[in-house]
C-alpha cells in the first residue's frame, strides 16, 4: 500500500479512537474537579452506553438514532442514581473514599450489565451505512466522520455548558472552592450529583458513537476507561481543552504505533506516555503548573 494512503488511513483511525478517549477524559475531569477523586466507573459507563443502545436496537425495531438517544439518557440516569445511592449518603466524603467507592460502582455496573444484557459482544449498524468514503486514496468508514463530528459537537456543548449556563457556573464554583460556594448559596452536594450525571452522559455518548465500529461487550469498559484516564492526565487533570487535544493525540500515537511498529505493544503506548508525562510534566502537556512540589 502507498505510504501516504496508509498514513491517512492511520491518522483517521487514530482521530476516531482519539475522540472517544477525549470524551471519556472529559468525564474524568468533571468528576475530578468536583470531588478531587478518580472515577473508576467512567469506562464502564462507556461500555454500558453501547450495550444499552445495541439491546434497544435489537429487541425493539427502532431507528439507530433513537436507541442511541435512549442509551445516553439511561446512562446519565445510571450515573446520577449511583451518586445518590453511594456517594451522596457519605458523612465524610474524602477523595480516597470516593475513589474506592467508584471502583465498587464500576464492579456493580459491569456485573449488572453482564447479568441483564448478557455476555455476547453486541453492535448495531453505522449511522449512515457502511459504504466507505474515499479520501486521498484511503477508504474511510462513514461512521468515523460521525464520531469526529459528534465528539467535536460534544466538546463545544460542554464548553458552552460550563461557560454560559447557570448550572455549569455553579458547578465550577463548587469545584473551585466548596466552602465559598456553599456560602453563596450553592448546593455543593447537588452539584456533585450533576457532575456524576454529566460524566456518565459523556461516557454514554462515547459508547453509542463508537460501538458501530468496534462492537462492545460487558468486559471492555475497563480498558476504555484507562485510555480516557491517560488522556485526562496527559492533558492536565481538570483542563477540558487539554483533555480534548490529549485524547486526539493519544489516539493518533496509538494508531501509528499499531500500524507502523507492532500491534502487540499498541496498548502500552498510552501508558508509557502517561508515565513520561507524569515524570516530566505532571501538570499535563496543556495544563498550567499549579502543582505543589514537596
Amino acid at each position: 500500500m502507498d505510504v501516504y494512503v496508509q498514513a491517512i488511513q492511520l491518522l483517521i483511525a487514530g482521530l476516531t479512537t482519539g475522540s472517544i478517549y477525549a470524551i471519556v477524559a472529559v468525564g474524568f475531569n468533571v468528576i475530578f474537579k468536583s470531588t478531587d477523586s478518580i472515577n473508576f466507573a467512567q469506562g464502564e459507563w462507556v461500555m454500558t452506553g453501547g450495550m444499552i443502545a445495541a439491546t434497544a436496537y435489537a429487541t425493539a425495531i427502532i431507528p439507530v438514532w433513537l436507541s442511541c438517544s435512549i442509551a445516553v439518557v439511561a446512562v446519565s440516569l445510571i450515573g446520577g442514581v449511583s451518586e445518590r445511592l453511594v456517594i451522596h449518603p457519605l458523612k465524610k466524603p474524602s477523595p480516597m473514599l470516593i475513589t474506592l467507592l467508584s471502583i465498587g460502582i464500576a464492579i456493580c455496573t459491569k456485573s449488572l450489565v453482564m447479568l441483564i444484557l448478557g455476555k455476547t459482544p453486541m453492535g448495531y449498524p453505522a449511522f449512515s451505512g457502511d459504504q466507505p468514503v474515499m479520501l486521498g486514496g484511503a477508504s474511510i468508514t462513514p461512521q468515523s466522520f460521525w464520531v469526529l463530528g459528534l465528539a467535536f459537537a460534544f466538546m463545544l456543548m460542554t464548553q458552552f455548558f460550563f461557560e454560559r449556563t447557570l448550572l455549569g457556573k455553579t458547578m465550577r464554583a463548587a469545584a473551585a472552592d466548596r466552602d465559598a460556594a456553599a456560602l453563596v448559596g450553592i448546593n455543593v452536594k447537588r452539584s456533585v450529583m450533576w457532575a456524576f450525571m454529566l460524566a456518565a452522559l459523556a461516557g454514554g455518548v462515547a459508547g453509542v458513537i463508537i460501538t458501530p465500529i468496534t462492537l462492545t461487550s460487558y468486559d471492555n469498559g475497563t480498558i476504555l476507561g484507562f485510555k480516557g484516564f491517560s488522556a485526562a492526565v496527559l492533558g492536565g487533570l481538570g483542563s477540558l481543552h487539554g483533555a480534548f487535544l490529549a485524547g486526539l493525540f493519544l489516539g493518533i500515537a496509538e494508531s501509528l504505533t499499531g500500524g507502523l511498529l507492532s500491534s502487540h505493544f499498541k496498548d502500552a503506548v498510552s501508558f508509557v506516555l502517561l508515565l513520561l508525562v507524569l515524570f516530566l510534566r505532571p501538570q499535563g502537556i496543556f495544563g498550567k503548573a499549579e502543582i505543589s512540589k514537596v
Binding site: L97, L100, G104, F229, L275, F279, P282, I291, K293, V294
Partner: protein, 332 residues
C-alpha cells in the same frame, strides 16, 4: 492512629495467633483447604505490604497486583528457564521489583495528591502488556509453567503441607517485621504522614525520602508474596496480576481497615475465603462482591479492624465504668 492502648499486646497476640494457626494443616480436612491456608499467608503478605504504603503513608499504589506479578514472573522465569535455585530467584525478584518501584516512586512521590496512584496505574498496565506479549519468556497468554518447587537445606517444599509451613513462617516474619517497623522511631515518623504530611514535615521529617523508602519496601514485599505464589502453584498466568487484581487489593486494605495493624489480617481473610464461598453463585459472584465492598466502605469506615477495635473499647469501657458507663453506651 493505629496504636491504641492495646498496642503493647500486639506481639503476644501475633505469636499466639500464629501458634494456633500452626495446627491448621492437622485440622484441615484435605489438601485443598491446606492450600487455602497457604494462599491466606501469601495474601496476607500482599495486603499487609499495601497497607504499609496506603494505610501508613496515605498513598495509593494501583500496581500491587503488578509487583506481585513481577515477583512471580521473575522468580518463575529464573526457576523454570534457567534452573536457578529457589532462595536466589526470590532474592532477584525482590531486588528487581524494588528497583522498578524506586524508578516509579522517585519522580511521582515528589508531587502531592493522586500522582503515585496515576503512575502506578500506568505501570501496572505496562507490566500486564509485557506479561502477555513477551511470549518467549513468560509464555504469553497461556501462562508460565514448569516452575520448580523450592528446596531449602535439602527440604522439598513441594507438598501443600510443607509449603504451608514455609508460607506460615514468612508471613509471621513479615507481620512481625512490620510491627517492629511501625513501633520504631522511623515507624512513628511514617504513621505521622497519614495524619498530616505538612505537620510531619514541619517537625523535620523528610517526608519524601520516607515515602519512597516505604513504597520500595512495600513493593518488594509484594514481590516476595509473588515468588512464594509462583513456587507454590508452579504456574503463573497474566490475568492473576492485572489491574483488576491491584484494585481488589486496594479494596481489601480498605475493607480490612486501612492504617490498622490488624487490618490486613481481615482483608486477606476476605480476599481468600469470600471468592471460594461465592463460587456457587457463578455470574452473581461479581455483583455480590461489588455490593459487599460498597456496603463495607459506606457503613464501616474503619474497616473490619476498626469496627472490632470500637467494639473492644466499648466492652472495656462498660467493664470499667459499670453502671455509670451503661447509659452513655446506650446513647451512641
Amino acid at each position: 492512629m493505629s496504636e491504641g492502648s492495646s498496642g503493647r499486646y500486639d506481639v503476644r497476640i501475633l505469636f499466639g495467633l500464629w501458634l494456633v494457626f500452626l495446627l491448621f494443616p492437622w485440622v484441615a480436612p484435605n489438601g485443598y483447604i491446606v492450600g487455602l491456608g497457604v494462599m491466606f499467608c501469601i495474601n496476607l503478605i500482599l495486603v499487609a505490604s499495601l497497607n504499609l504504603i496506603m494505610g501508613y503513608c496515605g498513598q495509593i499504589s494501583l500496581c500491587h497486583g503488578g509487583f506481585f506479578g513481577l515477583g512471580a514472573y521473575v522468580s518463575g522465569v529464573l526457576s523454570s528457564k534457567y534452573g536457578i535455585p529457589g532462595l536466589i530467584d526470590i532474592f532477584c525478584a525482590m531486588a528487581l521489583t524494588a528497583f522498578s518501584a524506586l524508578l516509579v516512586a522517585l519522580p511521582t512521590l515528589r508531587l502531592r495528591g493522586h500522582y503515585l496512584a496515576m503512575a502506578t496505574l500506568g505501570f501496572n498496565a505496562i507490566l500486564s502488556v509485557l506479561f502477555v506479549e513477551l511470549v518467549g519468556l513468560t509464555g504469553g497468554p497461556n501462562g508460565l509453567s514448569g516452575v520448580n518447587p523450592i528446596h531449602i537445606f535439602g527440604l522439598p517444599f513441594g507438598t501443600d503441607r510443607w509449603f504451608f509451613y514455609l508460607a506460615w513462617m514468612v508471613s509471621l516474619l513479615v507481620m512481625w517485621g512490620i510491627l517492629n517497623l511501625v513501633r520504631s522511631r522511623v515507624g512513628r515518623a511514617i504513621t505521622s504522614l497519614a495524619d498530616s504530611e505538612i505537620g510531619a514535615a514541619s517537625l523535620g521529617i523528610n517526608t519524601y525520602g520516607l515515602k519512597v523508602m516505604v513504597f520500595v519496601l512495600s513493593a518488594s514485599l509484594a514481590a516476595l508474596a509473588g515468588s512464594l505464589y509462583v513456587h507454590y502453584t508452579q504456574f503463573a498466568s497474566p490475568e492473576t496480576f492485572n489491574f483488576f487484581a491491584s484494585v481488589l487489593l486496594v479494596m481489601m486494605v480498605a475493607v480490612g481497615g486501612w492504617g490498622k495493624y490488624w487490618g490486613p489480617l481481615f482483608g486477606a481473610l476476605v480476599f481468600t475465603v469470600i471468592p471460594e464461598l461465592l463460587q456457587s453463585f457463578h455470574d452473581l459472584q461479581l455483583l455480590i462482591f461489588g455490593v459487599g465492598m460498597i456496603a463495607v466502605l459506606m457503613f464501616v469506615p474503619g474497616g473490619i479492624a476498626g469496627m472490632l477495635e470500637r467494639l473492644w473499647r466499648r466492652r472495656i469501657r462498660m467493664k470499667a465504668g459499670g453502671g455509670i458507663a451503661a447509659p452513655e453506651v446506650g446513647n451512641d
